[in-house]
């Protein structure tokens, strides 16, 4: 019975929170600059796009799928938004266009999975390549300048706090409600837990899966334009390798790769942890190449912990 009260921050989230604290404490001693407000807000900004996209990815993984295409969708959506804004001269169009392109990519993934029954790993791997290719074709490989509201969302501040961080936190709050208190959220968890049982309980599996991928795509599109806004330019290579950070954030946050289990606060903590690790390399002056290696190690560790936890619970 006492477990009920621990729900909000159960053991899985506690472990990522502990790691977070450990890294933060270490950095505050190792670097004089770490606790400077500018640096902390910077970390928050970095965490915001990963966190946003990880919210959608979390739903996908909880429903037993995976979306490898988010990095490329970030690039394609940003480029498409920037080009439409440039061609029409209406800067405000970059946001909705990016979100719609992201949504379309998500629907494409979802339809490949639900209609053609292509395994999501393969389907989204294909989309990863297609979306990146289209982004390169559209731009000829050159960045497109971007200004207007996208720049505000990406680089602006409200009361000293980065706008992107605020957006991410608002979205996270919305997702806490979606995951915990809506019919759709319940169905996502149920499908991930036991798809056969869910189908026989009358849950429309394909409709739920399609929406899950659509949401993930749309958030990637939205994240893409924010990322580009921060740089005031949409690079066709934007978001390259981002899927790694996003999936790592989701898994670190305690979401089970085998589906049916996960928490939104955990995902956000995971995203902050990834940003903190990135920050650590900059502050400590370690080669950026080591950063790439470390990300891989972190993913393997996180998945390894997940399967150890699963083995344990199987033994119980």
């Amino acid at each position: 019975m006492r477990r009920a009260h621990l729900r909000f921050l159960d053991v899985r989230e506690a472990s990522v929170a502990l790691m977070l604290v450990a890294v933060a404490v270490y950095l505050s001693f190792a670097s004089d600059y770490f606790l400077a407000p500018r640096n902390l807000l910077n970390v928050g900004r970095q965490a915001s796009v990963v966190g946003m996209v990880a919210l959608g990815q979390a739903l996908v993984i909880i429903a037993r799928g995976i979306d490898l295409s988010v990095g490329s969708v970030i690039g394609l959506s940003a480029v498409a938004g920037a080009i439409v804004a440039r061609e029409t001269g209406i800067d405000g169009l970059s946001l909705p266009v990016a979100a719609i392109v992201g949504l379309a990519c998500g629907l494409f993934n979802g339809l490949l999975y639900t209609k053609l029954r292509i395994n999501p790993f393969i389907a989204t791997l294909g989309t990863l390549s297609i979306a990146r290719g289209i982004a390169l074709l559209l731009t000829g490989g050159l960045p497109v300048p971007l200004a207007g509201p996208a720049e505000f969302l990406g680089a602006g501040r409200l009361g000293g706090i980065p706008v992107s961080l605020i957006i991410m936190l608002v979205l996270a709050a919305v997702f806490v409600v979606i995951a915990g208190s809506t019919r759709f959220g319940r169905e996502v968890f149920a499908i991930g837990d036991n798809p056969k049982a869910s189908r026989l309980a009358g849950i429309p599996l394909d409709w739920v899966r399609l929406r899950v991928f659509a949401i993930s795509g749309m958030l990637a599109g939205f994240g893409g334009i924010i990322l580009a806004g921060n740089l005031a330019s949409a690079d066709p290579n934007l978001g390259l390798g981002y899927e790694l950070d996003v999936i790592a954030a989701v898994i670190l946050g305690g979401t089970s790769l085998s589906g049916g289990r996960g928490s939104i606060p955990g995902v956000i903590l995971g995203a902050v942890l990834m940003a903190l690790l990135n920050n650590a390399f900059v502050l400590l002056g370690i080669s950026a190449y080591w950063q790439v290696v470390t990300k891989g190690v972190v993913i393997i560790l996180a998945v390894g912990l997940d399967s150890i936890r699963r083995d344990k619970s199987a033994d119980d």
């Binding site: 019975m1 477990r3 009920a4 915990g180 208190s181 809506t182 019919r183 759709f184 959220g185 319940r186 169905e187 968890f189 149920a190 837990d193 036991n194 056969k196 049982a197 869910s198 189908r199 026989l200 309980a201 009358g202 849950i203 429309p204 049916g260 289990r261």
Partner: protein, 495 residues
């Protein structure tokens, strides 16, 4: 003199008494059947006798001398072997390696003598009547029943004085059971004491010399098997007299709910005619593979209707998915709780609510409070033994999990309830509860279609029975012509 004698055994977990002063003994060469519902304390008692658990109070004497069994190893040293229901074979090792594990025969140079290891394994398997298992196969590639036999062969190769087996026949085929029983009798004749935990009353009656029944942690009966019958045992186990008696309905059946005409799925089913009225309980009987489950799936939209037609409440029903069927007032409690029924990582409340989330909130939201309230309601109505709505469903016994799934189906307010093997793998107390639930739901006006492979279940519950054979519905029997012999005869029609 008894080989093992336990006196005044008491054991509790977290303040809950599980065993309340049990006196139990077994002689050399005796086969004792241990019966009782799930949760009666059978496994706990056997764990204490084998040294896996320590009693809170009470003494155990082996061959007249008081023994302290501090661990399973201590029990094994005294010649006690307990074969648990959960198998402990190493799947990536061969059968022979599994049987010899921990004492592999060494040859010259200290290397494992594989030839001798295989011969030992062959001999051990032959003794227990498992001639068909090749010692060279990987344990993981064996059927569950075969794995069970390997486990038994391993225990027997230690030549125990007391062999305790927890439901050893649950996954064996009829043929394997015969060979296994012959072995158990031989082993007993050689002087080994055997304790046999089972849910199958016929097996207990035919194999055992003496039958001991536990109920709620107390020993309530200790009888010689000879002269004891099923009814007596059921009464001992449940504390209730008659379980398996048909209760006719007071009311005549109501409007026609389901009509199936010449229906088929193009592969497994063809030409099915069936009808069902509200307030009626209709059985679907047949051998394994007769198409009972498939027919339920066809009606429920989990299988595509290719030929013929189905009407629900007088309107045609061509369901593209179970979701459509649920919307039209159907609910299915599937066969195979673990695979197709429960959401193992969800609590009881969410397992109950998942089929009808719309009823637990508005505008797409779901109220956890209302889900929990529903779980509490069904806990009362269906007699689910649980600590609370937030308890993990996997913590419940099979019978209670099944009740949760029935609650899930009822929560959708179905007019037509489809039940596939509703009492498969549940203990006898839960079985009688589930029968009561089914009768009550029929009285309240639902139509109920029960697929079962147990003639007894059909005869107890159903007003009519449709007998299937090889994907066809052979005949529909009403109460007047229903009998076990007739049902089985019809089930073999297509064979």
């Amino acid at each position: 003199m008894s080989l093992l004698e336990a006196r005044g055994i008491e054991k509790g977990f977290g303040g809950n008494p599980v065993l309340r002063g049990i006196d139990f003994s077994v002689r050399a060469g005796e086969i004792v059947g241990l019966l009782g519902e799930n949760g009666a304390g059978k496994s706990t008692l056997m764990n204490i006798l084998s040294g896996n658990l320590q009693p809170d109070r009470g003494t155990i004497a082996i061959a007249g001398r008081e023994a302290s069994l501090g661990s399973a190893a201590a029990g094994q040293a005294l010649g006690i072997r307990f074969i648990h229901q959960e198998l402990s074979l190493l799947p990536s090792l061969t059968v022979a390696e599994n049987i010899s594990v921990g004492r592999l025969p060494r040859g010259r140079l200290g290397l494992v003598d594989r030839g001798r290891m295989r011969r030992n394994a062959r001999a051990a398997l032959d003794t227990i009547g498992a001639m068909g298992i090749d010692p060279k196969r990987l344990a993981g590639s064996l059927r569950l029943g075969e794995q069970q036999l390997v486990e038994i062969a391993r225990a027997v190769s230690h030549q125990p004085r007391l062999l305790i087996m927890d439901e050893p026949t649950s996954s064996l085929t009829a043929h394997e059971v015969d060979g296994f029983f012959a072995f158990v009798r031989r082993l007993a004749a050689q002087g080994t004491a055997i304790i046999f935990i089972t849910h199958r009353l016929e097996e207990a009656l035919s194999l055992c010399h003496r039958l001991v029944v536990l109920r709620n942690g107390a020993l309530v009966a200790d009888r010689p098997a000879e002269g004891t019958d099923r009814q007596t045992l059921i009464a001992d186990m449940t504390g209730r007299a008659s379980l398996f008696t048909y209760q006719p309905h007071a009311d005549a059946p109501g409007e026609r709910l389901l009509e199936v005409e010449a229906a088929g799925d193009g592969s497994d089913l063809a030409g099915i005619d069936l009808d069902l009225r509200s307030g009626e309980v209709v059985g679907l009987f047949g051998l394994v593979g007769a198409g009972r489950t498939e027919l339920l799936e066809l009606i429920f939209g989990a299988r595509r209707l290719r030929t013929g037609r189905i009407e629900i409440g007088g309107r045609p029903a061509r369901f593209a998915s179970p979701a459509d069927a649920v919307r039209r007032g159907l609910a299915l409690v599937p066969e195979g709780r673990k695979v197709q029924g429960i959401l193992p990582q969800h609590d009881i409340a969410r397992n109950v609510a998942i089929a009808n989330l719309g009823a637990f909130g508005r505008f797409g939201f779901v109220s956890s409070r209302r889900e929990r309230a529903a779980a509490d309601r069904y806990r009362q109505a269906l007699g689910i033994r649980m600590t609370g709505p937030r308890q993990a469903i996997t913590a419940l016994s099979g019978g209670n999990q099944q009740k949760v799934l029935i609650g899930r189906a009822l929560a959708t307010g179905p007019r037509l309830l489809l039940l596939d093997e509703p009492t498969h793998g549940v203990d006898i107390g839960a079985k009688s509860d589930i029968y009561e639930i089914i009768r009550a739901e029929a009285r309240s006006g639902r139509g109920i279609l029960v697929a079962s492979s147990e003639t007894e279940e059909i005869l107890t519950l159903c007003d009519r029975v449709a007998v299937m054979s090889k994907g066809r519905l052979v005949d529909m029997l009403d109460r007047g012509s229903m009998s076990e012999a007739r049902m089985v005869e019809l089930a073999f029609t297509g064979h």
